[in-house]
Symmetry: C2
Subunit: 434 residues, 2 copies
């Protein structure tokens, strides 16, 4: 909220303090720009839903209306449809999770689970530990409840255990309260890296011994390209982990159905918070997904998605090799994203208008930090455009980057380079992934 | 949250302060009980969705998947589908509202609009003014953000302007901040009364002169039985009113689609809060409703609903006359609810187990007060059961009430009556409504 609002908004003085943390995201303006058809958008993380055969959805809907119409049109329970929760157990079993249907709370996308968990735990000034870089809209949610986000460094193997220990010591020494560690351990957004099994165990042990709850957000785990990733952290730790899942990437985001798997007492409060927020998640979309999972080859469909995204990941990595060989980037083994490191003296945010002029869009690195980090980083999403467009997008991006570098070189002959703070991220080009 | 949790929940000390206000509602347990088929439930406010022809919904869904599949399956905008917002203008025009599509924010049911507005405005300790009695889950939301709910008396003509003035003076004298007045002015939940046109204007003027925002919640306005109710408060006041609407009662709650119509600056913040909470409301259900409104005779369908609910209202009022002639109750001219006043020495909450034993359920009056009021009140919903079941339900209820009264009379011959505090509500049997 800017002070400008003071003059334009007669209710300006009425807002809650927490709205100070509620600002338009950097991706927001991009969505408008990137929707122009001539722009190759490597910005948004939209799943390629056209790979889902229409008739699978239509068939599920028709069966729902035929067999369960009145229930699907009615209010449901705040915990979610029991039959759908049974299916969710099957989905999570693929990542090594054993649980009870009673411990699942269905939410309006896993985004809403993030919001509800944050509402349950965060007092103003509480600290959330999060990867550097971290999922943009998670940072937005944490800030909207006045949390302080403290980033923890990661490398090509994910979150660095020693960096986590140091962050905990630092925050505790400052007299602050850590409420949870937020992590996307598998095919992370935006870094595209995966936490190794050994580190999962080590980080769970650090969390346990420090009394820190782990919020494991896992939207991409089933979208692996080179073999299954390590099992979920929740597979080895029940009491200390809230696990978030979603159908947005394995089926479609338009239904807005995700879930939280939480320890008993937390789950009870999540249900109450869910009821207060929306009474119940949509019965209709829950029934449709339930019918889809019951009647269609959903595992085969996930295999189809894997093939689509694998091809696009390969196209992006090859194009980066061809057009930007001097840069470094992560090599995702699944998911949607590649994280690119520009030369230290480039600023991805100030470069963006030029990129859009060249008809390519990406998300600037600073969007994924709560603390201004990530200036010379950017996120490229390979999930939505075709391989040909991805290649063309990277070609355009190389023109932009090389143009910026030339400009800087010319400029440095007539004056000093502008000062660029070193990035907070420790992500380096991986040696052995992808 | 009870102290019991301390022993059972290892994360007990981690919860945010606001969770103290997040308790299971009195209706929650009832839903489980009332779902047994032998119980006549006059408790829950479930719309009678079976009056909606299945083929209208199926047809809309098929057209959506045929014509707009990928968009309906994709993420949408945080403000909601523009084409649906156009239709929402048509719906609101029926209640005298003129607005722009830009000022509408689509939400996951109007419940979520309530949550988002509360998140935007309430600091802990801020005061929300609300009718006495008031919508149960609105009270839950306000408390979940640590608002203090201050009730304002109503009578058969709705909120009493002089009571509002006095409440404002009282709260201000206590040095507290009033953030908004929450009201369901038309066919209110639970009281079933409607604010007169003259009072609407007077209350808007009081709000204006005291700098108080009005949150007008209008789920039932189009479900009138005896002629259209007064126009919405928003129809005469743009800057000072946030209006909430929903498709839950005129179509079906299973889609979870509602909306807020808000002044520009507030609407911008609502969109940001909506994006943080759920990224976007369900594209799929928005498209289905859009197609339904574009292709079906939705006004005729609302007429059908009116006929169904009118018949049930009539059945309930007739049964009350026949079986409980000594009690008083409101005479709703629309909506879902009748509000019954028991003799002063009866307690509707402690009477409930006996009612369930007699196979009838209702919602105790205390559920609709934040301050313990409503002990000798109860809410009867006529929306869901058939007229025959409603009559049988009231017959059973009369047995329970008469049994309680006999018990009290007997008891009073051997000892003192238990002390019953006078109710805070001023609702009396209406002389001239219904």
């Amino acid at each position: 909220m800017t002070n400008q609002g003071n003059n334009l908004d007669k209710w300006y003085s009425h807002y809650a303090d927490r709205t100070a943390g509620l600002a338009a995201s950097e991706v927001r303006a991009l969505f408008a720009v990137a929707s122009r058809p001539e722009v190759v958008s490597l910005a948004g993380g939209m799943p390629f839903v056209s790979a889902l055969p229409k008739e699978l959805v239509t068939g599920a809907m028709e069966r729902v209306m035929r067999d369960s119409g009145p229930a699907a049109l009615q209010y449901g329970s705040g915990q979610g449809l029991p039959a759908l929760r049974e299916h969710i157990l099957e989905v999570m079993a693929l990542e090594g999770i054993r649980a009870s249907v009673d411990d699942i709370v269905v939410t309006t996308g896993s985004q809403h689970a993030l919001e509800l968990v944050t509402k349950l735990f965060i007092n103003p000034g509480d600290v959330v530990l999060a990867e550097a870089p971290s999922y943009l809209t998670a940072i937005t949610v944490f800030k909207s409840f006045q949390a302080e986000v403290s980033h923890v460094a990661m490398d090509e193997f994910g979150l660095i255990p020693q960096a986590l220990r140091e962050a905990i010591t630092r925050v505790k020494a400052a007299g602050k309260t850590i409420k949870f560690l937020y992590t996307v351990p598998t095919f992370s957004n935006p870094a595209g890296v995966t936490l190794t099994w050994e580190r999962r165990l080590e980080i769970l042990e650090i969390a346990r011994s420090n009394g820190i709850l782990v919020l494991e957000d896992n939207p991409y785990g089933l979208l692996y390209f080179d073999g299954p990733p390590p099992h979920a952290m929740r597979s080895v730790e029940e009491d200390g982990v809230i696990y978030l899942g979603t159908f947005s990437k394995t089926l479609a985001p338009g239904f807005r159905v995700g879930w939280a798997l939480a320890p008993h007492a937390i789950r009870e409060k999540l249900i109450l918070a869910n009821e207060a927020a929306v009474l119940s998640p949509s019965s209709f979309t829950q029934y449709v997904i339930h019918e889809y999972l019951a009647g269609a080859d959903w595992k085969g469909q996930i295999e189809t998605f894997r093939g689509v995204y694998r091809e696009r990941r390969d196209a992006m990595l090859a194009a980066l090799e061809d057009y930007l060989p001097d840069l470094s980037w992560t090599h995702p083994a699944g998911g949607f994203y590649v994280w690119v490191t520009l030369p230290e003296n480039l600023d991805s945010k100030s470069m963006l208008p030029r990129a859009v002029k060249e008809l390519v869009a990406y998300t600037p690195g600073t969007a994924f930090y709560a603390d201004g980090g990530g200036r010379n980083k950017l996120r490229l999403a390979f999930c939505y455009p075709t391989p040909e467009f991805i290649r063309e997008g990277i070609r355009r991006l190389s023109t932009v980057i090389n143009g910026e570098l030339e400009l800087l070189t010319t400029f440095s002959q007539t004056g000093p380079l502008k000062t660029v703070k070193p990035s907070a991220s420790m992500i380096n080009p991986p040696a052995n992934l992808g």
